[in-house]
Amino acid sequence: MSLAKKNLIIILLILIVVITPLIIKRNAEFLGADGMAENMITEINPQYTAWFSNIWEPPSGEIESLLFALQAAIGAGFLGYYIGLQKGKNKGNNDRQDKK
């Protein structure tokens, strides 16, 4: 199987696993907030209070998503660069061999 075919199947599988919860649990909130740690912990230990808070917090959800997007963009940018570079290198090598 070619690389493209293999990875197409994998991408489809990923989409299925990611989209299924959104369809099955239409009414769920899909929160994942760190703040919810408070609930579970105070449920077990009502006296506990956080003794240190974040040095800096994104002032709004928009800024937070900006920084998350930035994080993903930095990573994805390099991934794309690397794959393109390697693919080009391979092609260059093959072309050279063909000429010989």
């Binding site: 994998i10 899909f30 929160l31 907030a33 760190d34 579970m40 912990i41 240190f52 800096w56 930095i74």
Partner: protein, 252 residues
């Protein structure tokens, strides 16, 4: 009596899956480990980090540019995956770790430093995780996560599992283990009145179900990128002796 128990267990499992609930299956938030435990995990993580810095330095000093690029790729992969908050069947979100890929390629040690960089980025800029809980989160994600991934990959290859399946198992179980350790860390810090085990079950029941689909996605994404590396970076892989010449012939 037995019937009742079975009914109870089944309904419990159903409740866990079907009732929407908020889960914080991510890194432990800032200030949410008592000082004693924060200190404990930090002290435990530091030696790993020191060894990791040395290993990464060696790679940067001695290895060919191609290998350094591959290490940067492993870091970039952690960046992308740990920013992807994905929905899970429990109706809440959690995220991937991305540790598995690098651990499979480079062994567990260099991943500790790469994981630290990402955790610090998220703790300082995103108020996600924290400095006081860095040691604990580091231990769960970058230390246990990478050793599990590396160990499982080696084991799976040894017993003849195909490369792609070994990568999948290593990465997804590593993701799952990270959250089991996190649950254990929280249970140890907050045993409540009923003790560590009861607390652990409480934390695990929340973490485990949410994490299963995400562990699968993490495994799939890791195989995806690994396939690309296998196709275009054969020389680097040979150099890393991840895939010996003989094995490569089997799979090409």
């Amino acid at each position: 009596m037995k019937k009742n128990q079975i009914a109870l267990t089944t309904s419990l499992i159903f409740t866990l899956i079907l009732i929407p609930r908020t889960v914080y299956a991510m890194h432990i938030a800032e200030g949410f480990l008592p000082m004693k435990w924060a200190g404990f995990w930090t002290v435990l993580a530091v030696p790993f980090l020191i060894i990791s810095v040395k290993k990464v330095n060696n790679i940067l000093k001695d290895e060919a540019p191609g290998i350094k690029m591959l290490l940067a790729l492993a870091g970039a992969f952690i960046f992308v995956l740990s920013s992807l908050k994905l929905p899970s069947l429990t109706g809440s979100c959690s995220h991937a770790t991305g540790i598995g890929l690098g651990a499979i390629l480079f062994g567990p040690w260099p991943m500790v430093l790469l994981g630290t960089i990402v955790l610090i980025f998220q703790a300082l800029l995103l108020a996600h995780g924290g400095i006081t809980t860095l040691g604990a989160n580091l231990f769960a994600m970058a230390i246990v996560g990478s050793f599990v991934a590396y160990g499982l990959f080696k084991l799976a290859r040894k017993v003849g599992v195909p490369v792609w399946a070994s990568v999948f198992v290593a990465a997804s179980v590593s993701n799952f283990f990270t959250y089991i350790i996190t649950a254990g860390q929280l249970a140890a810090a907050f045993p409540g009145n009923s003790g560590f085990m009861a607390s652990l079950i409480k934390f695990l029941s929340v973490f485990a179900f949410t994490q299963i689909p995400l562990a699968i996605v993490e495994g799939l994404l890791t195989v995806l990128v690994f396939n690309i590396i296998q196709e275009y970076s054969k020389n680097e892989l040979d150099e890393l002796s991840i895939i010996s010449r003989r094995q490569r012939h089997e799979f090409s």
